[in-house]
Amino acid sequence: MWYAEGMSEEPIRIVLAKVGLDGHDRGIKVVARALRDAGCHVIYAGLWQTVESVVRTVADEDADWLGISILSGAHMTLVPQIMEAMRQAGLDHVGVIVGGIIPEADVPKLLEMGVSRVFGPGTPMQQIVEFVKSRRSAAHA
């Protein structure tokens, strides 16, 4: 829009979702608001998503990023499933970031699976915003 200085013509589209029965949605809502205020188009898919519905959403919304929030401790089961389903759907160009309660020891394993970055409790919003903005996925450039 012409009157917002410094705005890019093509806003970054990011899908934010929680998978499974994990009902902790405060963090993801805070992140959603921060990304919106930073000029992103945030597609909030919310609670109780399945792996399949998340991947479908990312494809149909033509998203640049997928952000998953997990505080249930199920990340080591869910994240591999999500990454595999994304690959099968041909969505390798979409960056995946994960936030929530993730023990330090699991972080390298998630990165190994193809996750771009993991953000734990207390992460300043600016850090998340900058990361998402600085690494627009190549296929959408």
């Binding site: 829009m1 012409w2 009157y3 917002a4 200085e5 705005m7 013509e9 093509e10 806003p11 589209r13 959603a32 608001r33 990304l35 919106r36 205020d37 930073a38 000029g39 992103c40 188009h41 945030v42 597609i43 909030y44 898919a45 919310g46 998503q49 399945t50 399949e52 519905s53 479908r56 959403t57 494809a59 149909d60 919304e61 033509d62 041909g90």
Partner: protein, 297 residues
């Protein structure tokens, strides 16, 4: 690249559709889309409008399954507001609609500039793309619409206005400019007390206004009441002509054109000048008209 995207859409590749919609929503490919001519199989385009919180997304979510049972494929274009300051948007309609994994359902969230007419820019082009893909129905959810947000009329075969009980005094119904463009009125959240009374008031207001008789249906997304009746009405009501033969289409088009011209760097620096307080709003407007080559009002 766009070439192969076009082929993709005709092959019913959802990813190609998704990508082309992104481009169209940004104002790219518009000329190509407008030159497509009438679709092979026109979709039934239904706009769902009404103020924020009235339950548009919830209701659309409840329509998906019965529509699929009736053998219809459906694309849903859900508009949510975009901040004029940051350009950011929180698109949350989809969350209320529930997850549909069926290939006959496509849900897409679109940001609509605030201050515009409650629908996303280039919505006509996005609708046309969905028609090219071959959906039977296209449902458009507007941004919480109110008075004067009537542009959607230009692109829809049917406009459904949602109202809810206990939203104010009787005058509310008369004030709502959208009453005039609605082909069907839903008193939503009919599980709440006061729904019958609201329906009576709306019917009275419509009678007072004269004109054609618009059906008023009581619906609750929570209990499922009235959903089947609503679908029957949506299937059977005659389509209004769309394709921009009315004043709303004209105004919307004019607005988009103005918006496009305002992207000009000169217009942007004019704004900066106004923001800095060196010129007042009227002076800014005067210079703006000069810049955009539009006649002075």
């Amino acid at each position: 690249m766009p070439e192969s995207l076009w082929e993709g859409v005709r092959r019913r590749d959802r990813r190609a559709l998704a990508r082309l919609i992104s481009r169209a929503a940004r104002g790219q490919e518009i000329d190509t889309i407008r030159q497509l001519g009438p679709p092979q199989k026109p979709a039934r385009v239904i706009a769902i409008t009404g103020s924020g919180g009235v339950g548009k997304s919830s209701l659309i979510g409840k329509l998906i399954e019965p529509l699929r049972q009736r053998g219809r494929t459906v694309a849903i274009l859900a508009c949510d507001p975009e901040s004029p300051l940051t350009g950011g948007a929180l698109l949350g309609d989809r969350f209320r609609m529930g997850a549909a994994l069926d290939d006959g359902v496509y849900i897409r969230s679109l940001a609509a500039c605030s201050g515009r007419q409650a629908i996303a820019d280039h919505l006509d082009a996005v609708i046309r793309l969905c028609e090219e893909y071959g959906f039977d129905w296209i449902i458009v959810e507007t941004v919480g619409a109110g008075q004067g947000d009537t542009a959607v009329r230009a692109w829809a075969d049917l406009v459904v206005l949602l109202l809810q009980p206990e939203t104010g005094d009787e005058l509310q119904w008369e004030k709502a400019g959208v009453l005039e463009v609605a082909d069907l009125i839903v008193i939503h959240k009919a599980d709440l007390p006061g729904a019958d009374r609201a329906a009576q008031q709306v019917r009275a207001a419509l009678e007072l206004a004269g004109g054609t008789i618009v059906p008023v249906i009581l619906v609750s997304s929570r209990t499922g009441k009235g959903i089947a009746e609503l679908l029957d009405a949506l299937e059977s009501l005659p389509s209004k002509s769309r394709r921009g033969d009315d004043v709303h289409a004209f105004l919307n088009e004019a607005q988009q054109e103005l918006h496009r011209r305002l992207r000009d760097p000169a217009a942007t620096s004019l704004l900066a000048l106004w923001r800095s307080g060196r010129i007042d709003i009227h002076e800014a407007l005067r210079r703006l008209w000069e810049l955009t080559g539009s006649p002075q009002p």
